[in-house]
Amino acid sequence: MKSIKASGIGNPIDRIEGHLKVAGKAKYASEFPVENMVYAQGVNSTIAKGKITSIDTSEAEKQNGVLAVITYKNAEKLKNYPKDMTNFSLTTVAPVFQDRQVHYYGQYIACVVAETFEQAQYACRLIKVTYEEETPDIHLDKNRGKAYKPGESADFSRGDMDAGMREADVTLEQTYTTPIEHQQPMELHAAIVNWNDGKVKMYANQQILNQATTSISETFGIPKEDVQIITPYIGGGFGSKLNVYKHITMATMASKMIGRPVQITVTRHQMFTNTGMRQFDEQEMRLGAKKDGSLTALAHHTTSHTAKNLQYFEACGNVSKMLYKTPNNAVTHRLIPLNIQCPSSMRAPGEATGSFALESAMDELAWKLKMDPIDFRIKNDTQVDMGADKPFSSRLLIECLRIGADKFGWENRKMQPGTNKKGNWLIGYGVSAASRRAPYMKTSAKVVLELNEAAVNANIKMDATDIGTGTYTIVAQTVSEYLGIPVENVKVEIGDSEFPVTPGSGGSWGAASYCNGARKACENAIAKLKKKQNITESEEIEVAELLQQNNLTTFEAEGTAEPSEEYKKHSVFSFGANFTEVWVDKDTGMYRIKRMVNVGSAGKILNPKTAYGQIIGGLTMGAGMVIAERTQVEPNYGNFITRTLADYHVPVNLDMANIDVVFLPEDDKIANEMGVKGIGELGITSVAASIANAIFNATGKRMRDLPITPEKLIEAGLEPGVA
């Protein structure tokens, strides 16, 4: 409706479910009281490649309270991966214990079910396994000959790269590497599963319910409608809860076997080997530019790894197809199968790592050209996505860069590295440009209106999830907006696979999809009520009055929103700019992020308070990529050396500093009717480059291998001069 109430969209209201979270009352997957519940715990392989030759579970089975031990010997037959190398998608099956083979270190080989958690945990340690061990493929370098192209979308070429490089006055060829990283949301993966008469219901922290129910139903060969997942709150996902992982299968199998509800909580240790990760990427960049700064060529070649039986790759090179104007462009991705678990999506897969390479390389080339890095980026701006040959629906990257520069005080930056000093500190400023596709997908919702005296209460239902992104709040604001009722009168019910289908939370499509789905349900409700009374669509009338005129106290409507033809004709992206100031200690190589400025152009901001949370969260995880995050792989045995939060370091409070965020007012109705674009992944994109570029500006050292730890800076030699 036209009358915008204070509680409608665009206002920084507190999260509507916030009371529950601060009071410890929000219920997460493992926390529902279920009678007669027992506990399951997985056991992991201690080799990376080979065959189980024997598995002795007798000692474990003898323990008090132990109800079952499941291994390949007694596991039921499940649907296995359809191919030798199966594409790891959101609906891929999750078979477990189907044979003796071990493909990576940490693979589940057994599952103990016991009356108490303590008993299950103890019994796991009593299982004795022997293996016929084979030498695993762990090294990227030793297995380069096995690199392959993972499908047609992996490569892209436009113009003539070599000709473009010859035309250039200045060129750059550099390789950037980013390590394996782990999502590690605070809430452990967990589920309470109840198999009852061929049907399965579970509390499980899955980000996308409609895809997860498909995966589970196919794994067990039961109809999709016989699988129900309930998850009102999810303690973070960052991509790790997109796919159905094998703990779900283990708990389902266990419940089926013993006929009781089973709770399983993946340990933090297991969350390194069994719930996905970002892959290691080696990115070779080739860039050429004319003296005036115009790019003549840009190539982005990524080499990474995948599992022996599952294929996944993050498309690091995609950012190089669309961010800048260049006549000649080449992008490739290659994968090497290794005995390491299958990688998966981690916040902004492709963009987070790809933008580190591209935006570092752009900074390097600007330096070679003696150009300001902001001017260099603006010089190569494009309003057309040259990779897709489509215009952008809206692109305010130049505005992001200039407004950010003013806010940050970019004019105070010293062009020459190592010249801004304060005592022992070398001070540097860095910038980077950010882009993230802003998808929007078909979404359904159901709204139930209730007239209570003169007030209307609305209840909206959809199978959406809130992983901390603010879904509850922005959906409530949307319903408030389109029904013209206060947000207090809106009840949002999400996180149940039996509600109308949405694309779930992931890939930055949540906000746009959920809110447009909710909008459509509200609009349909109003349109139907008007039609019954022959009221024209344009006439403004309160929804309460509409119900009264219809003599109704309750009314429900469903709605489905989906992308328009115009949307399909355009490239729809969110854009941003990151600015960072770092202080590097010239003797110890220790550095501190002193402040950050982020400018974001992400369409209509539904709630600046929760949107700010998304941005600072992205910046924090992006800072983590630079300051600490690295999963180290033992080169002989293939186990992760860093497998707890004490050695896989994520940013803590003291690592972060003040962050100013500027949202641009952007009206992009091509993106969708509400003009909403994703912001959850924009925040992490290119942050790493802005910090690395600031370190260069401070020290004169180019750091092309993440994370940038103090010892790497010392090794680079912090003596005066420019590398």
Binding site: P12, G24, M186, R268, I403, E488, K609, I616, N653, F663
Partner: protein, 266 residues
């Protein structure tokens, strides 16, 4: 799974149902305190709030009883746990951590399991007023100690000022580290009052009581609580506001039309 049905049916209720009435009675909210409480809560969050109560510590089994099997508990110990001013007697496996006793036996699931290794802070509770990692504390060692969990911070239906501040400053996203962050923050207020030193305290010889913590001090002292969503800046703002009493302002803004014009045309 009856509870699932109960929970779902519960969440369909807009008005206070009989069960919800019962909840309010059970948590001692009636008359004025209930009206005050209801005023604080929006209708929307009330119904979510009440529905989660329906299947939590009050109406479901308040303490999870194990099947009637004398051999089921290894090294059984009986412990009187004094949690949030209530005493509960539990028969526990001696290996049970305080965290698991709270979550699995008392249904006080506000205290979160984040790593079970003392590395993330999500399980932080207060034991005798000091913040403590409940995952590294054996429940059997807590006899007669005063345990305060996130569920015990609100008084008479009023959220603790720290809980209010986290809500106002959006000091969380997914909410999973939040109970630990808040328990840490509440205990930290006391640490500052007592003049306890930290890693970044500049002069150990000259530590006064009633410390006014700098931002650096707050960040250092809150670094034992990981927030993977990255809400640190908002957490700092929430703490500062309660600690100093001064309002903290948001650090986001919208670009003005003038800024947009200038950026486009310069």
């Amino acid at each position: 799974m009856d509870e699932m049905e109960k929970w779902k049916n519960g969440s369909d209720t807009d008005q206070l149902s009989k069960d919800e009435e019962k909840i309010f009675d059970e948590i001692g909210l009636n008359g004025t305190s209930r009206r005050k409480f209801l005023k604080q809560m929006s209708a929307a969050s009330l119904s979510i709030w009440a529905s989660s109560y329906l299947t939590s510590d009050l109406l479901a089994s308040p303490a999870r009883t194990l099947p009637d099997n004398p051999e089921i508990l290894l090294n059984e110990v009986r412990v009187n746990l004094r949690v949030n001013d209530m005493v509960k007697q539990l028969a526990l496996d001696s290996r049970t951590s305080l965290l698991d006793a709270l979550r699995e036996r008392l249904q006080l699931t506000g205290t979160k399991k984040g790593c079970d290794h003392g590395q993330c802070g999500a399980c932080t509770v207060m034991v005798d007023g000091k913040r403590k990692l409940s995952c590294l504390t054996l429940a059997a060692t807590c006899e007669d100690k005063e345990i305060t969990t996130i569920e015990g911070l609100a008084e008479n239906g009023n959220l603790h000022p720290m809980q209010e501040a986290f809500l106002k400053h959006d000091g969380f996203q997914c909410g999973y580290c939040t109970p630990g962050q808040i328990c840490s923050s509440v205990a930290l207020l006391e640490e500052a009052k007592n003049g306890e030193a930290s890693y970044v305290t500049e002069d150990f010889k000259d530590v006064k009581t009633d410390l006014k913590l700098s931002e650096e001090e707050i960040r250092e002292r809150m670094s034992g609580n990981i927030c993977r969503c990255g809400a640190y800046n908002n957490i700092v703002q929430a703490f500062k506001e309660v600690h100093s009493g001064d309002d903290e302002m948001p650090t986001w803004e919208f670009a003005t039309a003038k800024q947009m014009e200038k950026a486009k045309n310069s």
